[in-house]
Structures are given as structure tokens and as C-alpha cells.
Symmetry: C3
Subunit: 482 residues, 3 copies
């Protein structure tokens, strides 16, 4: 009882002390905090883009069997972290080292190092990789450049997440991280350089007369097709070894499709940020139209994949519908700034139909073990999106894209990126733009599928040699860390 | 071993090739990509609005029994897709075909077709339905109009989702889609025209002297009450048939209330976008005040419904609390731009109390089978919100709303939408504004409850005739596709 | 059959009626709805901040055992509601009653009441608590002030949620709400006043020459350390009584870590809003840099905590990784506007390493029962973040912070908040800034740990007396309402 009285006294004392002073009201202090300015909309939209790897993680987690789910979830987080950090250290430099050559973005004027294997007498624009702007972390770059980094870092994180989520629990942790590093350090930034950093694919128009060069507005190819086919390369390269352990004889049971639903909603919001927040967006495309196209493509993908699955199986397969939605978003990314709304609807619908067919083909016919459907959802859909741009781009937007025709194009004033089905008053750019898309696809596939497969086989061979050597000396195999 | 050496050689060769060229650094290329402008805040806020159907889907999924959850989830996605696409094709035209008559929005000047059953000598503003701006997809509309479409498309998607979520697994898939189409094509756009498109409800002030006409800022009535009572009509019209199959004798067990919690968080964010992103917002309401009112109403709803449920059952019923939050958000939508923060708190609190009482009344007393509580959460709460505006609107905002009193109102300069409890210095507009709200409620209910009930009964009758005819000829009933 | 014919007739009649009038197209009506302006980016960012309590709730729910999860979830919602409402009624006044003395924010000029226990001859800036701006709800404040309230209300909601989530199901409902009220009414606003409202901690630089005074940009200390140590005080004060009921003998099993993953994604988005949306941000810090620092710290926290846990346990502990991410975000909050990106990465990484060590220390060594890890995740991480600012602040940002050195600082033009490792060209402010941080930590801990512990012990004693008295008279103990 005495302790209680003690406590009470102390509390009362403090309260009394607090209310016995003078209220100090003055107007003599110089105001020092002023209202802020400076938060720009593009940065906020870039923040939304991080919902894309988040949503992909939720979808992958929802599609995992129960025991695998937490590992997949952790890999999603690790993928974001790895993607951003590696991109800050080297990726940004490889991708945008020559940005100053093609853009007058504030602060980019010092990034003028683009390596090219051919001499300049072949013409400018055969750049392969940027070689400046590394260790962005240590400089004091302009705000515009930081904003670009924030946005592109989210894209890199997305790209790195896709194979990590697909291959989690199939490779040992170090092989997995090695694969992710290889992709994040080398493959993704080079692809990004080719398409968005002033590399040779973006200059196909100027150099070879192929339309506006390879056009991929928001990463159908550069992010998704590349990630999807890198995943395919890894499955092909490491697959045999996995088959031997007989872990993958039957497809995993779906654990929790409702998380995939949730992931889809996050993804849609992230895609709005992706499509509208691009800091390299020119004045000649419209943010609202882009948002609308993204939305309509998603709607098309939802409807078509739902109807197809309903007819095929007699009920909704939630996981397939969510994947159809993602496929539609992937497909429309390349062209969302350049097509009419009806075309976006068609592109999304076709992607929503392609997806279940491709999954059937890959899983049942080709017996490819791809639990997150990365190849179908990102790879094939991405290719469709790249081709669709060559068909549906209507000429009304993207004037001056990749340096082609800032004033007029095909002798028509204000014509922009064009495919086959242009708006009335414009000239079809067929099949030049379509050819450019095909050249770009081939180029990206050589990197993402060919080079990656070689590297993975090489690594696997190296690992076997080392493991054989180790086994011969110690007879101790290191345990499965997954 | 030889293959390993081969692979290694190829990899090394490529690496050597990559690093033997010249770095190509020049400043002679004309910069062509300029920093963007043009992403406007309103569009980004409109993107957030899509979190509302997402959140409603999560809440409905969380409240479903386990076997029904994935179907409900798929219906949420389908509702969004259907709502947006139908709205793009015809709904927008029905709703805003006469927008140019009441708004100087850029690009709306060509939308001047509003159909009216009465001659113009009765005065302007007895419009029933717009008849222009269809197939928005095929035009080249202004950015402002696209922005309006993006925002209103999200509202249409929300409206369509509500009955779809409520009736999923209760109707066969085609009946369900037919019901959704009927709502999306006809009922919702007409309601929207009456309230926001210059139709007769918005002109009650000019024509009949009822305050500022029917005022519903963000859809308490136009979206939620209409959807809720359409759901009621469907339950009443199709209910008997369902009862016969004895599927609904006991209420379904709640599957996963934690998803409902998550849905509530998404919903709150979506509602911020809904309230602040309205492209038709006049200069005379304040975005920050709206956001604050939405927030305070939600807080009131949370507290009151939690306390009520705690006293009534001795513990928190998470599902009821989340629904109480939604009910509060629904209720404050109509008036969030026009009331003081304390009134928003009261409106939300009353909605949070009304909700469990209404659910008890509907489910236990009236034995209405409404698993997502659409009638209580959207219907009744929406009506309360519409009435609350007539009471709490404080006159300080919304000057010139619906064309009433752009300079002064009730002889007081700068007075806006007013109810009974106005701010000091303003004149109560009682009971005129309240009457306007009641007339609006009656009008919307005739459409949403009366006309829908008739249509559903008609369809049901038609279906019975056809089914009877079919049965008589083939004796084969088509299976349950749900 | 006759009823069917009746229904059909009515439907047809209505349709005929609807389509027999004249289309009314005119251009004679005065447009009254004009496009809006006024939604500002800061308010939208403030809306995102509400994802922080949402994310914390999801993480706490994911970490709960199954039976406790819905109560925890409901407490998260209640925490948001209580935090916002109490903040509106009294907290804002206590925190920002003297805002006009230090800021020229529009509308703050009337908030000039700051109570100080010492006379002004000791110098200005020994303020303890604000005494103006209560009942914000009833005034007609400026938009800037409402925007500040919206943002700070989200912070108050976050702070109140933390102990509520930690102590849900451990205290009876009224003790829990009482604790939350005590925190929301008194402790949190006073801490906020000291740091952000012009109180004595913010004036340490002017009064005692300690650097820029206590600097806590986005609440490492003011929100998180304070909440964490208040939770510790409650655990210590009420712990014994709980131990007696033997409910907490073993740690609860984790229920659903995937929800924690989801919470982390929401949290990251919320933290972007927190860091960039501050309405009191001066012109001298950069929003993009802040966003980037927040992102990099989160990445550092993810990587380090994942690697540590992987090495320690041989697999990813998803809950630990999500908590490591939160700890990193907490730690970087104080300094995100003032450090270089590499430093943010280091701060986050250290926080990600500290977290599992602290949890081990607290749970296993000290046998503290803290199911949500609030003490480690918010308390210890927050302290690390405050200290880190004294080390890593690079001098390049925050010129004129807390009224120190608007033109030059330490004789160097444009130098801002500085620690030990400043950018080249600036002067280290060591150890003055570090001392300021330590003084601030001591001050906040006295309030959050000391005063709270006293109050909780006092309340507990009071409760025992009352309960003993009641028991003696009625022999009826009130049941457990939780």
C-alpha cells in the first residue's frame, strides 16, 4: 500500500510541476521552417512501381505449395533488394552510361560513354553498353537523374524478382543468388541499354530505316520477355539435375490463390505507376491515354481468360485469371503509349487467351517445370506485346521517338510511332516497324536465352568440376541450404 | 568434359569480344527525349479509386465460406473488367452525353445530347439520359475527358462489382452476367446521368426550388445505394427459386476475416482517391477538407461499430468492424465536401451503429439471404449518407453546385450547399435541401429497386418459359455452371 | 402465367415511355462546373502514410497465433481511429500549439502558445507543450494547416497502433484503451512538441550549442522509439500480473507469416509517403533523395537480415526478414533527408543485423514477452537511427534546420545538418550533433519509459485498490472482456 501511495505522489507531483509554469507566447522568433516544394509526381508514381515486384511475389506465393511459400516470399524481398542495390552499383552505369547522347535530361550531360564494337564510320548508334555513371551512390547527381534511377531501379527489381521467384527452392541459395547477380549485373542492364539507353536497338530506325527503331515503351520485352526467357534458360540448363532428384515429377498444388488475387490488385496499381511515371516520357505521349490503355488491356485479359477457363473447365480458375491479367498487362506495356484504346483491349484479350494455351503447351506438352508460369506469363506475353506494337501503333503518339521524325514522319506532319493499323490521316509504317520489333526480339533473345544458357551451362559445368574435385578429396557434399 | 570446355570457350570468347571495341563518346547527337510533363494528379488519384472494387472484393472473399471464395474472387475481377468495358462502350454516353450543357470541361463541348420526356417549356433540366459520346474508344477525345472517363470508369466498376460479389454462386453464370450487364448498361448510367450528368435530379434546385438540387458528391446514393438496392431487387426476384434448392438455409461460415481487414485498408486508400480525385470538382470545395472528412468518418465508423459489437458480443467481430468502416465511408461520400469535420465524425459513427442493427434486422428478422451484406452496407448506409447531407451541410463549400447561387445563395454571399446545421453566418436551407435529397432517393429507388425488380421478374419468367419449353422437348436441363 | 404477362407489359411500357420523348439538345445553359484545382501532392502522399499502421497491423496479425489474430486486427483498426480522433481533439494542440513561433506555414500564425517551465531570460526555446489549436475540428483552419494535420494524424495513428498491437489480448479492453488514450493524449503529443513543434529538444542548438538541436526527420525517435519504449514500460508494469495467469509461459506460434510479407509491401509504400510528404519539409532537402534513401535502407535491411537468418538457421525466417525490413525503415527515418545513399544502405543494414540480435537478447535472455517485437523493431532500431544521424549526416542538406545556420554553419556556406562523416568541403559537427541526439534520446526515454512506467504502475495500483474494494463488497469480479 505504501508503494502505491509513493507512485501516486510521484505522478501527481509531475502533473503539478507541468502545470505551474508560465505560458510562453511570443512573436519574436524568426520563422525558419518554410512550406516545402519539390516532391514531384513522377517520383511518387515511381514509388507505386514497387508494387509490381510486390504483386508478382504475392502471385508466386499464392501459386506455391505450402511448404515452399515462405521461401518464395523471402526470395521476392531479396529480389527487390538485390535488384536495387546492384542497379545502383553497376547496372545504372551499364544501362544509362550514354544517356547524355540521346537525352537532354538535367544532369545527364556527363553520361556520354557508350561502348560500341564498330567504328563510328558505320554511323552512330551501334552502342552496346554504357560505361559511365557507376556507383551512383557516391556522386551528387541531379534530382532528375535520381528520379530516373528511382523509377528504373524499380524496373530492375521487377526483372530480378521474376527468375528468383520462379527458381526459388529449385536451386541452392548460392546458385540462385549467383544467377540473380549475373542477370542484374550484366544481362538486364545491357538489354536496357539497347532499348532505352541509346543502344543499337533503339537506333534501328536511324541506321537501317526500320521504323522508329525497336520500341518498347514500358518493358514488355526489356523487362518481361528477357526475364521470362532467362528463366527458361535456367530451367533448361539446370533442369536435368533437378529431374534427377525427382522432386518435380508432379506439378505443385496451389496453396493460396486468394493471395494471387491480392497480388493482382497491387500489380494493377503498380502498372499505373509504371506506365505513367516514366521520367523519360516525351511531351508527345499522353499520360491519361496510357493509363486508360493499361486499364483496358487488363480488363480484356480478365474477361477473355475467365471466359476461356470457364468454358474449358466449367468454373473459374482464379490463379489462371490472375495470370491472364498479368499477361495482358505485360503485353500492353510495349505499346500502351502508342495505340488506341480499342487496340489495347484487343492486345490484352489476346494475351489473356494466349496464356492458358501457352501454359498448356509448356507444361503438358513440353513438360517444362515452371511453377510460376514465368515463361508463359512474362516471356511469351512480352513477345506478343512487342509484335502487337508493330501492328496496332496508330501513329498519333510518340512523335520523335528514338530520334526519328521530330517534325514529320513518312512525309506526314506530327506522325509518331506507327504500325499497320494507323489512325486515319496517317501512313502505315508496315512492315518496317514490325521488322524492327522482330530484330529487337532476336537481339534480346540472344542475350536472355542464348548467352544466359551458355553461362548457366558453363557455371553448372564449373560447379560439377569443383564438386567432383571436392567430393574426391573430402567426400563431404555440402547440404541443401534451401 | 569436352562439352564443358566448349561452353567455357564460347563464354570467354563473347566476353573478350565485348571488351575489345572502342568506347564511343560523342556530343554530336541531337537530344530527342525531353523530360515529360503531363501526368496530372487527378489521374493518379483516379488510379487509386480502383482499390475500392479491389477492397470490396477482398472483404467479400474474406466473408465467404471456403468453397465459394475463389468464385467470388473471380467475380470481383470480372466485375471490374465488365464495368469498365461496358462503361467505355455505352455507359459513358448514357451518363455524360449532355455534359457539355452543364460543364465547360475541355472537350465536353460536343456532348450536348440529353434526352428529356417533357418539352422544354417545362424548363430546362428534366433530362433523363444522355445520348452522345458512345464508343469513347473510337474517338480521339480530349485529355480532360479521358481523365473523367478513367475516374468514372472506376466508379462504374465499383458499382458493378457490388451486386456481382453479392450474387456470385447464387445465380448461374449467364444469369449473373446478364444481371451485371443490365445494371452496367442501363441502370447505373441513368442514375449517374440524373445526379452528375445534368439530369433532372441535379436540376431540382433550378426547377422546383429544392436547395441545390439532389447533391451526392462521391456516390453514397448514385453508386452505393443504387447497387445495394439492385442487389435487394435481385435477391427478392430470384430468392424464391434459390430457397427451393435449399442451399441457403443457414448463413455461410466466415472463411477468412483477415482478408477483409486487408480489404479495408485498400478501401480507405481508394476512398481517398475517390473523394479527392473527382475531375468535376469545382474550385469551391477543398481537397484537404474532403480527405480529412473521409478519414474522420472512417474513424467514427471503426470506433462505434467496434464498441457496439464488443458490448453486444463480448469481443470484436472483425468482419463487422470492417463492414462498419465501409458503411461509414459509404455514408460520408455524399457530403464529404460540404460538412465540418465533426459532422463527418458523427455521420461515420451513426453509419457504424446502423450497420449491425440493419444486418440484424435483414438477416434475422426478414430472413434475407445477403452474404456480403450489400443491402445494409451499401444500400442503407448510402441512404443515411444522402439524408445526412440535408442535415449537416454547413454552407461553407460547394458554392454554385448544380448551377445554384454561384455568387450568393439565400441572400448570403458565398453560401454553398446547406442543410439544417449551417456554420455561423450562413442561412439554413431547411427543409428544401432535405426534400431534394428525399426526392432523389425516391427517384433512384424507383430505378434501382422497382425497375430492376420488374426486369428480373420478367427475365425469370422468360427463363422459366424457355426452360419449360426446352424441358418439354429435350428433357435435358443444362447443368449448374457455377 | 398471367402475372408474367403483367410484368412483361409493365417493362415494355416503361421502355416505350422512355424512348418516345424528344432529345433535348441546347447550348443555352450556363456552364457551372469548372475543372478543379487544389488537390496537392503532399496531401496525397499523406494518404499513403496510413499504409504504415495498416502494414504494421498486417505484420502483427501475421505474427499472432491463430486465436489472437482477429483481436489484434481489430486493435489495429481501433488504434488508427483512436489515434486520429484524439489527435484531432487535443493532440494536435499539445504538439503544434506553438507552431507559429517557428514556422511561417499559412494559418499557423495564430498558434503561438507554448508553455515553458522556465522564464524567458533563460532564452527562448525551452517549451514543453503547446496550448493552442485544440478541437481543430470546430475551427475553420487554413488548408496548409489541415494538410499538416492529415499528415501528422497519420503519424499519431501509427504511434498509437504500435503499443495497441503489442498489448492486444494481454490487457483487458478498458485497460488497453486507457493505456492508448494516455499515450495519445499526453506522451506522444509532448514528444512531438519537443521535436517538431518548437519544443526544447529542437532548440538545443540555439540554447546549448549542440549542433542543429535534436534532429529526427521522420520519426525514428518521436514515433518509433517512443512507442517501443512505452510498450516496454507497459510490459514491465503489467507484466507480473500477466505472468500470474500463466498465459504467456511459451512464445506464441506464428500464424500466418505471408500476411506479414504483404504488410511489408504496404509499409514500404507508406514509408515513401511518410518520407516525402512532410508538409514541414524545407526547401533545402530533396524529396527524391529521401525516397532513394528510404528504399536503399529497406534493401540493406532485407539483405542483411536474410543473410544473417540464413546463416543462423539454414533457411529464411520470413517473419524475421519482414521485421528486419521494418527495422531498417525505422532506423533510416531520422536521417533520410540528411545522409548520402551509401550511408542509408549502411544504416538499414546495421538495423537489419541489430534486430535478430536484439530479439534474441530480449526474448531469450531477458525473457521479455513481446509478441510483436515492438521493443526491438521500433524501440532499439529507433535509437540506432537517432544515433546514426549524428554519425552519417553529410552536411549537404537541411540548411537552416531548427533555425540553425540558415546562411552558413561552422563558417561554411550552405552547410546543413552534419555529423562525423560529412561530404568533402563541409566541416564535421562532431560530437555536438551526436550529443544533441543523446540528449534527445534521454529526454524521450524519460517520458516514454519513465513517466509511462510510473503512470502504469499508478493505474495498476489504483485498479488493485478499486478491485479489492469491489471484491470486498460484492465478491463479483468482472469477467474478461477481451
Amino acid at each position: 500500500m505504501r508503494r502505491r501511495i509513493l507512485y501516486g505522489s510521484i505522478v501527481m507531483g509531475i502533473i503539478v510541476l507541468l502545470f505551474c509554469g508560465d505560458v510562453w507566447a511570443s512573436d519574436a522568433v524568426v520563422p525558419t521552417v518554410t512550406p516545402r516544394d519539390g516532391l514531384d509526381l513522377s517520383s511518387l508514381a515511381a514509388c507505386l512501381v514497387f508494387l509490381i515486384p510486390a504483386g508478382l511475389t504475392m502471385i508466386a506465393v499464392g501459386a506455391s505449395e505450402e511448404g515452399r511459400a515462405t521461401t518464395v516470399a523471402a526470395m521476392g524481398l531479396v529480389g527487390i533488394a538485390l535488384g536495387v542495390i546492384v542497379y545502383a552499383l553497376v547496372g545504372f552505369g551499364f544501362q544509362f552510361g550514354g544517356l547524355g547522347l540521346i537525352s537532354n535530361l538535367q544532369g545527364a550531360e556527363e553520361l556520354v560513354s557508350e561502348w560500341s564494337p564498330v567504328d563510328r564510320i558505320w554511323g552512330p548508334g551501334w552502342g552496346i553498353i554504357g560505361l559511365d555513371g557507376f556507383l551512383l551512390l557516391s556522386d551528387a547527381p541531379s534530382m532528375e537523374l535520381l528520379s530516373l534511377f528511382l523509377y528504373q531501379g524499380a524496373l530492375a527489381a521487377t526483372a530480378v524478382c521474376i527468375p528468383l521467384l520462379a527458381l526459388a527452392r529449385r536451386l541452392k541459395i548460392f546458385a540462385l543468388l549467383g544467377m540473380a547477380l549475373f542477370f542484374a549485373v550484366l544481362i538486364y542492364p545491357i538489354c536496357g541499354n539497347w532499348v532505352w539507353g541509346g543502344g543499337w536497338l533503339s537506333q534501328l530506325g536511324a541506321n537501317l530505316g526500320l521504323g522508329h527503331g525497336f520500341v518498347d515503351f514500358a518493358g514488355s520485352g526489356t523487362i518481361h520477355a528477357v526475364s521470362g526467357f532467362l528463366t527458361l534458360a535456367a530451367i533448361l540448363a539446370f533442369g536435368a539435375r533437378l529431374g534427377r532428384t525427382e522432386e518435380v515429377t508432379k506439378p505443385p498444388t496451389v496453396h493460396f490463390p486468394l493471395l494471387a488475387l491480392l497480388g493482382t490488385f497491387l500489380l494493377l496499381l503498380g502498372w499505373f505507376g509504371l506506365a505513367a511515371g516514366n521520367p523519360l516520357l516525351t511531351n508527345n505521349v499522353s499520360s491519361v491515354q496510357i493509363l486508360l490503355n493499361v486499364l483496358l488491356a487488363a480488363c480484356g485479359g480478365i474477361l477473355v481468360s475467365t471466359l476461356y477457363i470457364w468454358f474449358a473447365t466449367g468454373g473459374p480458375d482464379l490463379l489462371m485469371v490472375t495470370r491472364g491479367t498479368v499477361a495482358a498487362l505485360v503485353a500492353v506495356s510495349a505499346s500502351c503509349a502508342f495505340v488506341a484504346p480499342w487496340a489495347a483491349l484487343v492486345i490484352g484479350g489476346v494475351a489473356g487467351l494466349l496464356l492458358p494455351l501457352t501454359i498448356y503447351l509448356l507444361e503438358v506438352r513440353l513438360r517444362l517445370d515452371d511453377p510460376t508460369a514465368a515463361v508463359a506469363m512474362h516471356g511469351i506475353s512480352g513477345l506478343w506485346g512487342l509484335l502487337a506494337l508493330g501492328i496496332f501503333a496508330d501513329g498519333g503518339s510518340g512523335r520523335g521517338w528514338n530520334g526519328m521524325g521530330a517534325r514529320e514522319y513518312l512525309d506526314i506532319a506530327r506522325q509518331g510511332v506507327s504500325g499497320l493499323l494507323v489512325r486515319s490521316g496517317f501512313q502505315p509504317d508496315w512492315p518496317q516497324q514490325f521488322y524492327a520489333q522482330i530484330v529487337g526480339i532476336v537481339g534480346l533473345l540472344i542475350l536472355a536465352l542464348g548467352l544466359s544458357w551458355l553461362a548457366f551451362r558453363g557455371l553448372d559445368a564449373l560447379r560439377s568440376v569443383v564438386a567432383g574435385f571436392k567430393a574426391a578429396t573430402t567426400q563431404v557434399a555440402d547440404g541443401d541450404h534451401s
